[in-house]
């Protein structure tokens, strides 16, 4: 049983992009080793990948520096220019992390009914998925899920919060197996 302590690389906050890049390279180096060693035994490789997939450093880097969240206009699922910038960064990062599965969560604000918002969240998640697919991310890495208005990030009842809740979040290292 292989065990890599990738999770031990603690990166709580990156101060600068350069610092983050250095850390990212360290992370990449370790993944390469993991890939090489893992090739000796496919079963163990798979097991260790499960651990590697949830590496805190990767997740934090992706969340904070790449950007895991894109926002949407009220009742819309079209990708805005600010979203496309973030998604391009996601694509670049995901192309480096070829083994990482992702789940795209679609969310809505509280200003709609539950069922409609589930459908709207699905549209938003799908819009992101389509973008990633078009940019060459492999289809079998991507799961999507809608939460509708069930999982608000912010709790106030005005546009300041609502604009943050109308979102699609790319969660790395997670794949939904039905």
């Amino acid at each position: 049983m292989l065990s890599f302590k990738i999770c031990d690389i603690k990166i709580h906050k990156f101060r600068t992009v350069d610092e983050a890049k250095i850390m990212k390279n360290i992370g990449l180096a370790i993944f390469v080793i993991l890939l090489l060693v893992g090739c000796e035994n496919n079963k163990s490789f798979k097991n260790s990948l499960d651990k590697a997939q949830i590496s805190e450093s990767d997740i934090e880097y992706f969340q904070n520096l790449v950007g895991d969240t894109v926002l949407f206009t009220v009742d819309q699922s079209g990708l805005r220019p600010d979203a496309i910038g973030i998604l391009n960064a996601q694509v670049n990062w995901l192309k480096e992390k070829k083994f990482l599965p992702i789940t795209i969560e679609g969310h809505a604000d509280e200003q709609g009914t539950r069922e409609y918002n589930l459908a709207l969240g699905a549209r938003r998640a799908t819009a992101v998925r389509e973008f990633l697919l078009a940019k060459g991310i492999e289809q079998d890495r991507i799961s999507i899920v809608t939460y509708g208005k069930e999982r608000p990030l912010r709790v106030c009842s005005n546009e300041e919060c609502w604009s943050k809740n109308r979102r699609a979040v790319t969660v790395v290292g997670k794949k939904i197996v039905e």
Binding site: S77, T103, E110, Q111, G112, T113, R114, E115, Y116, L118, A119, L120, A122, R123, A125, T126, A127, R129, E130, S143, I144, V145, T146, Y147, E150, R151, P152, L153, R154, V155, C156, S157, I176, V177, E178
Partner: protein, 449 residues
Amino acid sequence: MVRHSVLKLLKIFSFTSILFINFSFVAAQKNDAPQLDMTVNRGVIKPISLAVPSFIKESGANSIISRELAKVISNNLDSTGLFKSIPQSAYVSMPLSFNTPVQFSDWSIINADVLVMGSVGLKPDGRLEVKFRLWDVSQQKEIGKGKQYFTNSESWRRISHKISDTIYTRVTGEGAYFDSRVVFVSETGPKDNRTKRLAIMDQDGANFRLLKHPPSLVIAPRFSPTTNKIIFTGYETGKPRVYLMDLSSEEITSLPELKGMSFAPRFSADGSQIVLSMTENGNTDIFINTLSTGVKRRLTTNNAIDTAPSFSPDGKSIVFESDRGGGQQLYIISTQGGDAKRISFGKGRYATPVWSPRGDLIAFTKIKEGKFHIGVMRVDGTKERLLTTSFLDEGPAWAPNGRVLMFFRETPGSAGAPSIYSIDISGRNLRKIKTSSFASDPNWSQILN
């Protein structure tokens, strides 16, 4: 105001003006009874004054049950807004025996219109025997025939509900709804980290019980009209998916044909089919699923959002919401497929349509100018009436008699939370249902057997 016979009561659910109210026919009414009209100012209805003395204790019954039987009946009837119980402290006498003649003067002096007389006894085999009679005080006549019930003592509340249903039906001419239950979502915790659990209670909020299921998110449970089952949406796999739960064993079954993302399920009136929405490639459409065969049939192919479907009681049509015309509106489609016909045309967005069990009306959620409303309209889309308004009112559910709706109302802000309310379809009598936690997504059962 004319002192009237309670046998000729108001047609309270008149769809048109509520200012002039006709008396409706009552099953127990005699043909030669005089017809009186009652004029009600500004839609204010004078409730029927009701006396429900504690039930008379017979052989071995305890006084708590004799008191509680009467109390539950009073509460049920008061909750309709059509009756008003006279407090027992105002009574000038208490009935001592079930069979002695009623002293009508003792009840007319406190202005009681209707008197409910009951008794409760404990049989040697441990069953409760409950009897009741209903009296029209001014006419000094019995309304309908006396009834007798036997039950195990734990089920005494249901006897109160059945008696309440009998009184309500005899006096108003409307269908029963008290002996019924509500399945809903119990919510706890902060707004950005809610725990949601399936729960069940009697329609009056009593006998609250959480149902057992995995801790993942659950949404909108709905009763089977024919079996002791519910259908709901759960996130156990990580995606929203429709499941069945048997209420007696609390065993959950998934429907393999509904893999992917499926939600918003409802049963057909005969319980054999469910209608729901499924999302494929980001597009949400309506499907009908036959439970016995697991065969799934697509009903809509539009690339708009088609969701929140509900069967007509005759099983021939589905009402649903769609944004195919640009915004959320209501449509009706045959269960055999074909073109959908738009029925809502007002300003704002229409959502969550639910077909009345009587078949005459469709209840819906409407979003207009930042406010949410619960409303009803006729099946052809005419006679739209909004019954409520607030920051967020959503998800109407019909009482089994098609005359009362429950829905949930969520308060705004960071401490905002949902509660279940009921309202008469006349728009009167908005009431909050007391629950021990936040509560949303109510669904009302049929009358229990």
